[in-house]
């Protein structure tokens, strides 16, 4: 082997080592990206949901001080925000007019938050039932058919039994939209049951 071939081979070996140790675009790594020019990409400021070493629970976002009301956060309209009237009883109907747009909004929101457990038709045969064998309420039972609208709103807000409250992800207006859609589901089922020929298997 001449000195020349050896040099060529050496160069080839070096190139392949670099190519193998490095990595093509798009290969995965658990290490944070290196920014060639760090610029001001990372500023000493608090961003939403960032960690904090200052506050005791490690979160930079703070909870509102008890007793304070943020702008736009005043909840005067009791029936709208709690589902209960001035007498403390559940309101019988949704406290604002129900139109197609509200039911449609309810159908969307139902698909996001309720369908995973209660399934698309409200029979309670969703993921929890299939995977965890957890009994999930069907909306087509006598008890829930008789609930006033305000009580369904209250269950969405505060939960009931195994169901936790969905106060956080669903704003009040959307909760009422879901109530409207659940009523629609029940009406459809009732109508179908009434119109179907009375055959018992």
């Amino acid at each position: 082997m001449t000195a020349r071939t050896r040099r060529v081979l050496g160069a080839l070996a070096l190139t392949s080592v670099v190519a193998l140790a490095g990595c093509a675009r798009g290969c995965t790594s658990s290490r944070p990206p290196i920014h060639i020019n760090p610029s001001m990409d990372d500023q000493p400021k608090v961003r939403a949901q960032a960690a904090s070493r200052f506050f005791y629970n490690g979160a930079s976002m703070r909870e509102p001080v008890p007793g304070t009301v943020p702008i736009g956060g005043l909840r005067e309209d009791e029936p709208f925000f709690t589902g209960k009237g001035a007498d403390g009883q559940f309101v019988a109907t949704i406290p604002h007019p129900v139109d197609d747009a509200l039911v449609e909004r309810g159908r969307q929101r139902y698909g996001i938050y309720c369908q995973p457990c209660h399934d698309a038709r409200g029979d309670g045969r969703g993921i929890l039932f299939q995977r965890g064998n957890v009994p999930t309420a069907t909306f087509h039972q006598e008890k829930i058919l008789k609930y006033p609208d305000g009580q369904i709103f209250d269950v969405i807000t505060n939960g009931q039994g195994l169901m936790p409250g969905y106060r956080w992800p669903i704003p009040p207006a959307d909760r009422w939209a879901i109530v409207a859609y659940v009523r629609e589901l029940q009406r459809e089922r009732q109508a179908r049951a009434a119109s179907a020929p009375a055959t018992t298997p």
Partner: protein
């Protein structure tokens, strides 16, 4: 008097010519390839404190993105969910799983989980999810097929030129707002009709000036 340059220097011009072209070419190619966010940022896949699988929860179980990332339509931030959202199901499903121990601890103590942020914009870029989502830019357009990811990985460079590619010509990236979280949506064959419809229903005019994103 002897010669100043030995005969081997006769090769200097050709060697200099090759080095002078090859060197800068390689340097430019290297910077173009390796300094780009397509290289530095795409593929970031941090190890999370709990190996939450989007492939299972979204792909198999069919949860909507907004079940957890509920604020995406109303806020700048597509939130990471509070621990309670995990416990909605995991108080009954897999309640003894060792992998879920940090979730149970967090739920009990009220200390938030330390999820690691995957998609990190520079702090001087003010992105808002709300505007993009209501303008019909789907989750999958920027985040990739999350429903197929066991561990979430950054799929797009999130660089300024990448943002501007769409801001200058958003039409091919838009979809009906009802389909934003649909990972499997494909544009209809008659894309022009859809574009015309979207432009009529919700015309968009994405900013391309500095203050659009930098305050």
């Amino acid at each position: 008097m002897g010669q100043i340059f030995p005969p081997s220097w006769n090769r200097l011009p050709i060697v200099a010519a090759i080095a002078g072209t090859l060197g800068p070419t390689l340097a430019i190619a290297g910077v173009w390839y390796y300094f780009s966010p397509w290289y530095t940022d795409v593929g970031y896949r941090p190890v999370q404190p709990v190996p939450y699988s989007h492939r299972l929860h979204v792909g198999e179980l069919g949860l909507d993105c907004r079940y957890c990332h509920a604020s995406v339509e109303i806020s700048n931030v597509a939130n990471v969910p509070p621990t309670q959202t995990c416990m909605n199901c995991h108080q009954t499903v897999k309640r003894d799983s060792a992998l879920l121990a940090p979730i149970r601890d967090s739920a009990q103590s009220g200390r938030p989980m330390h999820w690691i942020r995957v998609h990190n914009l520079p702090d001087y870029a003010y992105f808002t999810h709300r505007v993009h989502v209501t303008a019909g830019i789907g989750c999958v357009t920027c985040h990739g097929r999350i429903d197929e990811m066991e561990i979430v990985t950054q799929m797009t460079p999130l660089s300024m030129s990448w943002c501007l590619d769409c801001h200058r010509n958003p039409a091919p990236y838009r979809r009906p707002v009802s389909e934003i979280t649909n990972m499997r949506w494909t544009p209809p064959r008659d894309i022009q009709a859809l574009t015309a419809l979207l432009d009529r229903e919700r015309p968009v005019n994405p900013p391309t000036d500095c203050s659009g994103c930098h305050r």
